[in-house]
Subunit: 141 residues, 2 copies
DNA sequence: TTGAATGCAAAGTGTTTGCACGTGC
DNA sequence: GCACGTGCAAACACTTTGCATTCAA
């Protein structure tokens, strides 16, 4: 589970209580949270945790490539602790829940469509309605 | 080209000079612009054009499904006038240029990975370096 | 001990909104 | 004529930054 903390320690990361709690929140969740949500959960464990520290820490973890920053196109970014296993995302367009999916193949862009770009990766987001939101109103976009 | 204006007129859209100019800017460009860029171009044609009006108009066109709003994950949103032909995007991670690509297949999510969602569509963004940015510094992320 | 991390509040972006004025139909 | 569009500035949501203080190593 949270070998995240292990890895960070061996990489010489300065381990403060706030950082530990933030890393725990990330590792303990299976849905991808926003900075505010991470802050709220962190504060229940350690009240003296500022929102700015949460942002600072998240940005640092992104730079260290220990988490992924995911923008849903609407509202705040979400942070994905699952960097080890390549995956794609499934987004609820109503409630913005974001979860991982593991489909078969990653698409590639034919050379004829690369237009001189050096293509590094492809990011896929499936969009739809989560089970909860389907109940409330099955259709309409 | 700009049958966009045709369609809007027949849909009973109130056609002001500002709206005409904004629609022309959208139709005339092959790269996807930000609201600021659209505003700047619109002002060269019609100086009395406010940024708020640009945002209002773009949002309205999005609701009318005459343009697409595309978030690049970093920085401002971009607006894609190409709503007729299904396509995907190629994004430069350095300069944020965004262009359309037309690869073969749209991926589908196997039922076993749908987790109770009603999947509506899939959005693919290929990420890489555009020709210009490759010149300046071919690698490093 | 000391450089790095923290909380807070202020600043920064990108976007939306309230309101008085102007205008397409 | 009048409902709707406009420009402007203020408000807004999210994120970053400056600075004095605290603390992990």
């Amino acid at each position: 589970m949270s070998d995240l903390l292990e890895r960070l320690r061996t990489r010489g990361w300065r381990l403060t209580p706030q950082r530990r709690v933030i890393a725990e929140v990330l590792a303990g969740e299976h849905v991808h949270l926003t900075a505010e949500e991470i802050h709220a959960r962190a504060q229940t464990k350690l009240p003296e945790t500022g929102l700015a520290t949460v942002y600072n820490t998240l940005n640092e973890l992104v730079s260290l490539r220990e988490i992924l920053e995911v923008s849903t196109g609407e509202g705040p970014k979400r942070y994905d602790p699952n960097v080890r296993r390549p995956h794609q995302h499934l987004l609820c367009i109503r409630c913005a829940e974001l979860r991982d999916v593991y489909p078969a193949e990653a698409p590639t862009l034919p050379a004829s469509e690369q237009h001189g770009y050096e293509v590094l990766d492809a990011q896929i987001t499936f969009r739809g309605l989560c089970p909860e939101c389907r109940k409330q109103s099955p259709a309409s976009s």
